[in-house]
Symmetry: none
Subunit: 206 residues, 4 copies
DNA sequence: AATTAATCGAGACGGTACGTCCCGTCTTCCT
DNA sequence: AGGAAGACGGGACGTACCGTCTCGATTAATT
C-alpha cells in the first residue's frame, strides 16, 4: 500500500503514461537533442506544469521512462553454471540495448553528465540493480571453482557492461550475438589458452 | 603549409589559446553544465564571435581543447610482448583518464549524444586513433602465438576501453593501478585457469 | 428572507468571513501585487474552490471585502447647511480613505481596469452610492440659494472625490484635515473673492 | 550628446519604435488585460528578449510608450491671465485624455498599484511635470491678485487633475468641453457668488 | 604612407527552452 | 450541498544561452 491517496483529485494515470511514452519516444526517435519538456508536453498532449508536478528534472523523467520499459527484461536466474548465467545475462543486456532502450540509455548517461541527480537515479535504479544481480552469479562461480579464485566480479562486469555502453555512446551497433561473443572472450581471456607453449614468446626456438 | 595567411590581420594565437584553456578548465571544474559559449568567452576574456569564427559548435571546441591536452600522452610503443604492450597502453589511458582529461572526455561524450558532429570528431580524432594504434599490438601478439588465435582485437578493446569510459561516465574513480588489474583480467580471462579440476560442478557423477 | 437554505450543508459563515478578512488584509498589507486567490485561500485557511464557489473573480471578492469594512462609514445626514453637509461628507471619505480602506480601494480600481465587472461592481455598490447620497445635499443647497444656481453637483463631486482617489492612486497621504481644506477650497473657488478688485489683471490702466 | 555608442551593434530604432507602438496600441485597444510582454512582442514582430533588454518591467514600457505619444501635447504658455492659463491647461489635458492616451494612462495607473517603480516613473516623468508647469501659472495669478491669496495651488490641481483621472479610471467620458466647465467651476467655487444671502452660514453675525 | 582585408571586442537581434506562479476548472472524498 | 484537497490544462513571466548580425578599432601585407 503506497500511502492511500487520502483526498484531492487523483493523479491521472493516462497523463502519466502519455508523458512517459512521449518522453521515451522522443528520446528514441530524436535523441537527446529532441528531448525537451516542451516537446514531451506537446507530444503527450499534456500541460507543461503537469510534467513539472511529478518530475523535478528532465533527467529523472527520462530515467523513469527508461525503467518503465526495461523493468525485469533481463534474465538473472541462477543455474549451476556461472558461465551460462553470465553469458545469458550479458546476452540479455545486449539484446535489450540493441533496440530503442540503448538509445534512451545513452541519452540518460549524457544528461547524467550535466545533472548529478539524473546520474544517481540511473545508477541506483538501473545500473546497480543490474550489477547487484550479476555479482552473485559470478561469486557462485568462483566458489564452485568454475571461475578464477582471484576474480573480482566488479572488474569483470565493468568490462562487460562498459563494452556495451561504449558502443551505445559511440552509436555503434550492439546485438545479442555480439554480446555473446563478448562474454565468451571475457571468460576465456585473451591469452593463448594452451600451454603457452614451452616458451611463450620470442622468435627463438631451437 | 597551412594556407599562408594571405593578408589581413592574422589570427590571434593568444586568443586561441585562452579559449582552449578556458574551455578545458570549465569542463574540468564545472562539468558539462558549466560549459557554454558565453562562459568560455567570459572565462577567456574573449568576444563570443571570436569563438564562433573558429569553432562551429561547442562540441568541436571541447574536442579540440581535449586533444590539445592529451596529444600523444599514451605510450603505444611495440615491444616483443603483447602482454606488456597492452597493459602499458591501458595503464596509460587509465592514468590519463584518472585526471581532468577523464572529466572532459565524459562531457564530450555527453555532448556527442546531442550533436553527431561532435561524436564523429571525438571518434575520429581520439578514439579511433587509440584503437588503430592498439590493434597492431594485439595482432602482433596473435601472430606471435602469444594471444589466442581467435582473438578479435576490437572486442578486447571494447571491453578494455569501455570499462574505463563506463567509470568516467558514472563518475567513479579510475586509476592507473586499476587499469593494470583490468588488463590482467582481460588477458587471463575469468575462467579458472587449471583444468577446471576433476569436476568443478554438477551433481557430481556416480 | 434570503432564499432559505433548501437542503444540503449550509454555507459556512466562518469560511466566508475568513475569506473576506484574508482578502482585505492581503490588499491592505501587500497591495494588489500580493492579492491572488491562492494567497487568500492560504491566508484564510480555506480551499481555493470555496472561494470560487462564491466569488466569480478576485475583483468582486475584493470589492465585497472592501464593502464589508466600509458599509455606512460616512455620514450623509442632511442638515440645513449644504456647506456643512458637503464638508462633513468629504471629511468622512477622507478619514476613511486615510487608512487601509484607501489602499484597498486603489487596488480595486486597479483590478477594475482589467476586469470590467469589477469596475462595475465598485461603481454600483460603492461609488454611485456615495454620489447618490451626496447629490441631494448639494441640490438642496442650490435650492436654498446657498450654492451657486448653475452648480452641477456631479462636476463638483468629480473634483472632490477625484482629488481623493488621485492621492490614493499616487500613494500620497490623505487625511481628514486635508479633505476639509479641499472642501473649503471647492466651495470658495480659486478666484479672489473680493470684488476682483477694481482691476483684476492686466497691466491695469488708469 | 548622449554618450556616444562606443562599440557593438547599435540599437535598432525600428525595433524600439515597433515595441512602443505595439505597447501603446495594445493598451489602447485591449486595455490592461491585453497588455503582456508576449503580446507586445508578437504585435511588434520582435523577440521577447529584445523587450526585456530595454525595459525591466512592463509598467515602465507602458509609461515610455505613453510619454512618446504625449510629449508636450499640452500648452502651458503663461499669459497675464491665470484664469485663461489654467483653463487652457486643463482643457488641454482633457482633450488629450479624451482619446487613447486616457485609456493608456488608466492602465499605467493600474499597473502602478502593483509595481511601485511604474508608479514612480509615471509620477516623475508625467504627473509631476504637469504639476510643476501648472503651479507657476497659478502662483502668478495669486501674486497678481487674480486668484485667492490663500490658494494652495496643489490643492486646486489635485481637484482638477483628480477629476479627470477619476473619470478615466471609471471609464466615463472625458472631453475638452467638460474640462473647461470643470475649470470654470473650480475657479468660481460652489458657493453662491452674490452676497451669500443674508446669512449663508452659522453664527451669522450680530 | 595609403589602401585593403581579415581579426577582434562589443553588444543588439530573433529565437528556444527553462522552471515558476497563478489562473480557473475538474474530480474525489469527507462532513 | 458544502468544504478540503489537490491534479489538470493553460498563459505569462523573467532568465540563460543560442547562433547571427552589425558596428568600430586593430593589425599586417599589399600597394
Amino acid at each position: 500500500m503506497t500511502a492511500r491517496p487520502k483526498s484531492g483529485r487523483p493523479r491521472s494515470e493516462s497523463a502519466k503514461q502519455s508523458i512517459l511514452d512521449g518522453a521515451y519516444q522522443l528520446l528514441d526517435e530524436g535523441g537527446y537533442a529532441a528531448f525537451s519538456i516542451d516537446a514531451v508536453a506537446g507530444c503527450a498532449g499534456v500541460a507543461r506544469t503537469t510534467i513539472y508536478r511529478w518530475w523535478p528534472t528532465k533527467g529523472l523523467l527520462a530515467t523513469e521512462a527508461f525503467l518503465a520499459r526495461v523493468q525485469a527484461n533481463v534474465d538473472f536466474q541462477a543455474t549451476d553454471s556461472a558461465i551460462h548465467d553470465f553469458t545469458r545475462m550479458l546476452a540479455g543486456v545486449g539484446a535489450l540495448m540493441a533496440g530503442s532502450a540503448g538509445r534512451v540509455a545513452a541519452s540518460i548517461l549524457a544528461e547524467g553528465q550535466r545533472d548529478p541527480e539524473t546520474l544517481e537515479a540511473f545508477k541506483t535504479s538501473y545500473h546497480q540493480v543490474l550489477r547487484s544481480r550479476s555479482v552473485p552469479l559470478l561469486k557462485a562461480g568462483v566458489a564452485r571453482g568454475e571461475l578464477a579464485p582471484d576474480l573480482d566480479p566488479d572488474l569483470l562486469l565493468d568490462a562487460a557492461i562498459g563494452a556495451i555502453y561504449l558502443n551505445l555512446l559511440l552509436k555503434q551497433p550492439v546485438s545479442e550475438q555480439w554480446a555473446r561473443q563478448l562474454a565468451e572472450r571475457l571468460l576465456k581471456g585473451a591469452l593463448a589458452s594452451s600451454p603457452p607453449s614451452p616458451d611463450t614468446s620470442r622468435k627463438t626456438r631451437p
